[in-house]
């Protein structure tokens, strides 16, 4: 089992309140991603669940048991850090075996579990090397190996892919998702990268300034953002926001349209504008357009579109895909 319940959890460093109050339910076996901009308190929240940071109020329960005052070592959780945090003086084998040694398991069982973890993570050839002799991706795999051998109640990941290059990041993302499918253990994953959040999560928790802005499945957040912040944070490229006269026509203070919900035409449309930049990705084309009286808009069109700087284009929102927000930035 691995359900985690946060009730009214607070955190303050001296007079600085980082997390005013958070209630959250993580169900057994779920892959939950905490996402938000830097400094939103997502890592602090994870560290409080881990037991590496004290709470300033509220309770944390794992499988119904209050663990708020329990030390990190006794919570039965495993954590993968951004910096890998491997023990540099130990070989890969000893790194992976360390939690088992701490648990006092017999040597035969330790060897068996280390071998199993090394198999799952393709680390067999590196067991006798030290972390310093491994690449970033291999190190991260060792860190994951060290986490899985203890068969924890839940895994905590603190931006584990931030130090890897783009290609490796995609691979490791897949590996972690597969691992989740195989193990079926609860995972809580912290990232500032909304693409990671969208691709991996069963449930996303969007945080801003220590508050939970919205909790939901990736597509739920994409389709029905609760407010302007979530709408802008989820989705890439970012949602276009238009206020003023155009918003008033829709009876809103601000309207939001995702770049993929804007149709681009070279002949006619709702807004006329000039192309500032066009990015050709092959599969898509991102077109950045300056529209008089509306501002800068981004359109994402499928395939290759032969538009370039200075061209005149027309943009029209797809019917039924306009998000409306009130003056308090809440969705109407």
């Amino acid at each position: 089992m691995g359900s985690i319940t946060l009730s009214n959890v607070k955190k303050a460093f001296g007079d600085t309140v980082v997390i005013p109050s958070i209630d959250l339910e993580v169900n057994n076996g779920e892959f939950v991603v905490f996402v938000g901009p830097s400094g939103c308190g997502k890592s602090t929240l994870l560290r409080m669940i881990a037991g590496l940071e004290d709470t300033s109020g509220g309770t944390i329960a794992i499988d119904g048991q209050d663990v708020t005052d329990l030390s990190a070592a006794k919570r039965g959780l495993a954590m993968v850090f951004q910096s890998y945090a491997l023990y540099p003086h130990m070989t890969v084998r000893k790194n992976i075996a360390f939690p088992l040694k701490m648990a006092g398991l017999p040597a035969v069982e330790v060897d068996k579990r280390v071998a199993a973890a090394a198999n799952v993570l393709n680390l067999n050839d590196y067991l006798d090397r030290r972390p310093g002799q491994l690449s970033g991706g291999q190190r991260q795999r060792v860190a994951i190996g060290r986490a899985i051998v203890r068969e924890p109640t839940a895994f905590l990941f603190d931006e584990p892919l931030s130090n890897l290059d783009a290609a490796l990041r995609v691979n490791m993302r897949l590996e972690i998702s597969e691992l989740h499918q195989t193990l079926g253990t609860t995972m809580i994953y912290v990232t500032h990268d909304q693409v990671e959040a969208m691709t991996m999560a069963d449930k996303i928790v969007v945080l801003q300034a220590g508050r939970v802005e919205q909790v939901g499945s990736p597509l739920d957040l994409y389709r029905n953002p609760r407010n302007k912040f979530v709408a802008g944070f989820i989705g890439s490229p970012k949602m276009n926001f238009i206020d003023g006269e155009e918003a008033a026509k829709e009876n809103a203070a601000t309207i939001g349209i995702r770049p993929e919900h804007i149709e681009l035409s070279t002949e006619s449309g709702r807004w006329k504008g000039t192309v500032a930049v066009s990015e050709h990705l092959g599969s898509d084309t991102f077109v950045y357009v300056n529209v008089d009286g509306v501002g800068h808009l981004t359109a994402r069109v499928e395939g290759e579109r032969p538009v370039s700087h200075g061209d005149t284009v027309w943009l029209s929102p797809v019917a039924g895909r306009i998000h409306r927000f009130d003056a308090q930035d809440m969705t109407l």
């Binding site: 881990a50 590496l52 990190a72 850090f81 951004q82 910096s83 945090a85 360390f98």
Partner: protein
Amino acid sequence: MARAVNNKRRAVVTLIAWAVGIAIFFPILYTVLTSFKTEAEAVASPPSFLFFDWTLENYAEVQERSNYFLHFLNSVVISLGSTVLGLIIAVPAAWSMAFFPKKRTKDILMWMLSTKMLPPVGVLVPIYLLFRDASLLDTRTGLVIVLTMINLPIIVWMIFTYFKEIPGEILEAARMDGANLWDEVVYVLTPMAIPGIASTLLLNIILAWNEAFWTLNLTAAKAAPLTAFIASYSSPEGLFYAKLSAASTMAIAPILILGWFSQKQLVRGLTFGAVK
């Protein structure tokens, strides 16, 4: 052209380095040479440098007149004892200051260092009286205590610097892996800090071995280390340069040999953390 200037500069720098090296080493060399002279040759003017009648009689006489091995043993016990005791106190202190710094941690570190700026003679009388009342005068225990206190700020500072280099996340990872405080210190922190702890140990042994102010003032015969053994040769009967030199050579030889074999470790330890 540039190469010529560079070569010239290198020659000058090399020359200065050699001059400084010789200036520093010369007194030691001269002491060693004098220890092989007769008393008459030792005070001869002009002094002979290498061409004199080499003799070992000073060493024989020093051995006969005083108990070198007792002083040697005292030095070993005092320097090792004070270093080990210092480390036992300094490791936990440095650990808490490096990994759980509080608002006043820096002030405490500065305050500890400031005690090294106090002239020792300023506290000689109170310490002497305390030692007298506690019956610690002329005891190894007493010297171990006083040398531990004298060198503790340096040990704490050095270990603190090494611990600061160890990323806190590694200790957190150990905690997540189920390690308690003891496991964390024994299996993770200490092995990672071993180079630093080793050089602190070496440096402190050398400092304690060479310490003369407290060892001379708080001992008489029983607990007197090699520093007191040397001093006993600048006695009221007059100066015996050759014998004094022989005693000095015998006193500094062990630590010089230790220093020679551990110089790599020492240099690494002292420059640790200077360059990332």
